[in-house]
C-alpha cells in the first residue's frame, strides 16, 4: 500500500514529527511504500539542516534525511509555509525539497491513505 504522510508541527515542540517518523519506519518495515512526506505549517522546520539538539537526544531532521536516503522517499517542504518561516533552499537538510501545496493534494490523490500528524 502507498502511504502519504502530512506533518504539521515542527520538531521537538510537539511529538507529531516523532510519531510520523515512527509510523513511516513501521510502514516500510511492513513492506508498504511511502509515496510522499509533506511538511506544512510549522512542520517545515523539520527540514532545517542547522538543527542541533543535545548529543544524547535524537536529531529529528537527520532521522528524516537518513530514512529518505535509505528508502528513496520524496520529502516535500511547502514553499509558502517555508517562506513564511524562513525555510529556504539553502537551509534544507539532505532529502528535503521545496515545492507547492499541489504536492500535498497530489499525495492525497495518488496515495492509498493519507495520514496526518499535528497538534
Amino acid at each position: 500500500m502507498k502511504f502519504g504522510i502530512l506533518v504539521n508541527e515542527g520538531p521537538y515542540q510537539h511529538q507529531a514529527s516523532d510519531s510520523a517518523y515512527q509510523f513511516a519506519v513501521a510502514a516500510l518495515a511492513r513492506g508498504h511504500q511511502i509515496y510522499r512526506v509533506f511538511f506544512y505549517n510549522d512542520g517545515v522546520n523539520n527540514a532545517n539542516k542547522l538543527t542541533e539538539p543535545p548529543q544524547d537526544d535524537r536529531n529529528i531532521t537527520r532521522q528524516w534525511s537518513a530514512l529518505a536516503a535509505e528508502h528513496d522517499i520524496d520529502m516535500v517542504v511547502c514553499v509558502a509555509a517555508g517562506m513564511r518561516r524562513g525555510i529556504k533552499d539553502e537551509l534544507l537538510a539532505p532529502g528535503f525539497h521545496i515545492s507547492g501545496l499541489g504536492q500535498l493534494i497530489q499525495a492525497g490523490i495518488e496515495a492509498d491513505r493519507l495520514v496526518v500528524f499535528g497538534d
Binding site: 504539521n8 505549517n41 501545496l101 499541489g102 500535498l104 493534494i105 497530489q106 492525497g108 496526518v116
Partner: protein
C-alpha cells in the same frame, strides 16, 4: 454513493477530500493555512468539502476586524470560495449551539448539519486533511 458514481469517480481519479477545521482564526495560523490548501486544491478538480467543527465555526463568524491585532482579515476569502467551485461548506449544529451562534452569524451560506449527519458525511470521504 452508487456503483455507477463510484466507477465514474475512479475513472476520473476523483477523490472525496474533506478539510476538517476545528480551530479558531488568528490565535493560531491553522485556519489561514488550511484555507491556502483549499485554494490550491480547488485546481485539482476533486470532490471537496469543508467542515467546521468546534472552534472551527469561529472561522466563519461575520464581522471580523483584525486590524487592531496587526493581522490580515482573511475571512472574505471564504466568500470567494464559490468562484473556485468549492461549494460544499458544512458546519456542525452542536458546535454552533455550544457557542450561542446560528447560521445567521456566518459570513457564508454553509449547510448546518447535526452530529449524526456530519458523522455520516465524514465516513463517506476518501482523504481527510485536518488542521
Amino acid at each position: 454513493m452508487s456503483d455507477t458514481q463510484e466507477t465514474e469517480g475512479k475513472q476520473r481519479n476523483v477523490k472525496r477530500f474533506m478539510f476538517l477545521n476545528r480551530k479558531a482564526p488568528y490565535g493560531t495560523i491553522y485556519a489561514l493555512e488550511s484555507l491556502e490548501v483549499v485554494l490550491i486544491g480547488a485546481a485539482f478538480d476533486q470532490d471537496v468539502s469543508l467542515v467546521f467543527v468546534d472552534d472551527g465555526v469561529y472561522q466563519l463568524k461575520k464581522g471580523q476586524q483584525s486590524k487592531g491585532i496587526g493581522q490580515k482579515n482573511f475571512s472574505p476569502t471564504y466568500r470567494a470560495l464559490e468562484d473556485y467551485d468549492v461549494e460544499k461548506l458544512y458546519v456542525e449544529r452542536e458546535s454552533l449551539e455550544a457557542r450561542g451562534l446560528t447560521a445567521e452569524d456566518l459570513l457564508v451560506p454553509a449547510r448546518v448539519l447535526g452530529a449524526a449527519e456530519l458523522g455520516a458525511l465524514m465516513e463517506a470521504q476518501d482523504v481527510v486533511l485536518s488542521f
